[in-house]
């Protein structure tokens, strides 16, 4: 395989499509080639390059958990050329996928800990993989708390799964929408994620925090966590930067000497504090 083409995607067939929120869809993808399916493994936190062949590639996380075998899922919002082309695909259509790339959430190191997941808007997908991975190995972890917020009720993604988590006795789910984003029958909180977090979470004891959201949410969430006593090395996030290759060659995702694609996308706050402010 000395001449392997590292840019050649796997072909994947769209098995099912879920409409998550306005302009947000989840694709369940299966390998067209059985041999590819058998050889493929990934770990939670990794990402890939998804493409509509003819339109180009786009970078998203793998939104499903490695514990769910036989398929991968991606969730994306229609925004640019490639995601618009993806958005128009139907069940049965073939798309390209390269990956998995990047590092992982170290869930083995988290055994015996409480887990606090904090996500905002379209940033739940990268966290959904690790949430399900931990829920499928539920006995390894103590309390599991999920704080999830979006602009409006309509913008909350994975509504089915939110209901499921809400009903599970072994998961504490707190959902919130920005003020003005509520509907008359909204039962969750109203307020921004950092505010709701400071009201609902009172301890950092034996807890790992996993945070993912828009830069503004991250910015205001970190001080709340630090105030709760979380150590920088116990706060994890997954970063995204524009990418083309996914493996450290195209030269655009680096933050200082750190390549998001190779060294990340998963970083602790401790690692991020050593990085220049260019992400």
């Amino acid at each position: 395989m000395s001449q392997e083409n590292i840019y050649k995607p796997y072909l994947m067939r769209i098995e099912s499509i879920a409409e998550e929120a306005p302009f947000v869809k989840t694709f369940r993808l299966k390998f067209v080639n059985e041999e590819d399916a058998n050889n493929f493994t990934f770990k939670t936190g990794q990402f890939g390059e998804y493409s509509v062949i003819g339109e180009g590639e786009s970078t998203f996380c793998i939104a499903s958990s490695p514990t769910k075998k036989g398929y991968i899922e991606c969730t994306f919002r229609q925004a640019g050329k490639v995601t618009s082309a993806l958005y128009r695909r139907d069940i049965g259509d073939i798309i390209g996928f390269r990956g998995p790339y990047g590092n992982i959430f170290p869930i083995d190191e988290w055994k015996g800990k409480n887990l606090l997941f904090i996500a905002g808007g379209i940033a739940l997908p990268p966290m959904r993989s690790v949430i399900w991975n931990c829920l499928d190995l539920r006995e390894n972890y103590k309390d599991v708390t999920i704080v999830y917020g979006a602009k409006s009720v309509a913008d909350l993604v994975y509504k089915e799964e939110l209901r499921e988590w809400d009903h599970r006795p072994d998961v504490k789910l707190i959902t919130t929408v920005d003020p003005g984003g509520e509907t008359p029958d909204w039962k969750g909180k109203i307020g921004f994620v950092p505010t709701v977090l400071s009201q609902e979470v009172t301890t950092s004891d034996n807890t790992i925090a996993i945070v993912c959201g828009p830069p503004i949410m991250i910015k205001f969430t970190m001080p709340v966590l630090e105030k709760l006593g979380f150590k920088n090395e116990d706060i994890y996030t997954t970063l995204e930067n524009r990418m083309k290759c996914g493996f450290g060659k195209c030269g655009r995702c680096n933050v200082g000497k750190v390549f998001i694609c190779k060294d990340g996308p998963v970083f602790t706050l401790k690692q991020m504090k050593d990085m220049p402010d260019e992400y």
Partner: protein, 342 residues
């Protein structure tokens, strides 16, 4: 392997070009056209430019083309068919008259394209099929600074054979690699036994302008230095520096198709462009030009040395010659060395 010294007469070099051409190899050399010297295909030595410092564009395109196809594809209603390129079909290419800085540039590119043993075989295979017969520089200009970045107008690194023009129009031929040796052995009648030659007498004098060690040591800590803003105020974000650079490897990937079939292509890109890092949301990690200038310099002098153990600059000066607003990298590095040494 040990470097072997031979003498190659001008007439022997002429014959060598003809022989290599007869073998079916493609030969590229600096050719003067409309007062601009660029690499172009030649069949005889006479076509090669005689008087040049360096070509405007570097030699990198021979291993990393400006635009290249990563694969072809055919689209039908039901299916997608990916057709891969046959990398074995890449022809053997001779690069004659490249400069030692051109040859050295491939080492930096190679470090990126083979980083952590993940090979970009488009680059790797092209480089494998390339034979570099470089010619030492007998002249330099004010933009040259190879000696400040571990280089030399007569350096052998990266070349398979290095020719240095000595008295009587003859060349000293240093046979550097197995690839070079294969040619020298095959055409042994053209490569004559060499007397002792002091090569340094025949190469350009390029004074050392700054202390690379200081830059490499101090620049990683200079991220917040105000010099980045000062130096880049005039930058117009045209990207010319990256396009002429022998070590700039950043690229874009785009698809083109006509509805039935098409190609996934990669093309050169530049960290100097504002859109290079912009997110779909509109957020841009490098919003202003000074951040992009800093990225360009720090990538070459801080990130590559740390991550790939090579310096990402060979001191050819092309970026300074190609810059429409006269940003002179050598001068900026001199200032930077002074500033970071404080």
């Amino acid at each position: 392997m040990n470097i072997e010294n031979k003498i190659l007469k001008q007439t022997s070099l002429e014959k060598l070009v003809v022989k290599l051409k007869e073998e079916g190899k493609q030969i590229f050399a600096p050719v003067k056209k409309n007062d601009v010297v660029e690499f172009a295909g030649i069949s005889t030595l006479q076509e090669m430019a005689e008087d040049y410092i360096v070509t405007v564009q570097s030699a990198k395109a021979f291993a990393f083309p400006k635009v290249e196809t990563l694969f072809d594809f055919q689209l039908t209603k039901e299916n997608v068919n990916i057709v891969e390129k046959d990398l074995n079909a890449i022809p053997e290419t001779i690069l004659l008259g490249a400069r030692p800085c051109d040859a050295a540039g491939f080492e930096s590119l190679n470090a990126i394209f083979t980083w952590d043993n993940l090979n970009d075989n488009f680059f790797v295979e092209r480089l494998k099929k390339m034979i570099i017969i470089a010619i030492s520089c007998s002249k330099a200009d004010g933009r040259c600074f190879c000696t400040s970045v571990n280089g030399n107008p007569g350096a052998t690194k990266g070349s398979d054979i290095l020719l240095t023009k000595i008295d009587n129009g003859n060349y000293l031929a240093e046979i550097i690699t197995e690839k070079g040796k294969a040619i020298a052995t095959k055409y042994a009648d053209l490569f004559e036994t060499a007397p002792e030659v002091d090569k340094n007498k025949f190469i350009a004098d390029v004074p050392v302008k700054f202390d690379l060690k200081t830059i490499l040591e101090k620049i990683p800590g200079a991220f917040e230095n105000s010099l980045w803003v000062k130096q880049s105020l005039r930058c117009i974000s045209c990207g010319a520096c990256a396009y002429v650079c022998p070590t700039c490897a950043c690229f874009d990937i785009q698809d083109i198709h006509n509805g039935h079939d098409g190609h996934r292509k990669r093309s050169w890109d530049s960290c100097g462009f504002g859109l290079f890092t912009i997110h779909t949301s509109g957020h841009n990690p490098r919003e202003v030009q000074s951040q992009r200038w800093r990225q360009r310099v720090m990538h070459k002098f801080a990130y590559m040395p740390e991550r790939q153990q090579v310096v990402g600059c060979v001191g050819c000066g092309r970026c300074s010659r190609g810059c429409p607003v006269d940003m002179n990298l050598k001068e900026h590095l001199i200032n930077l060395a002074e500033e970071v040494a404080k």
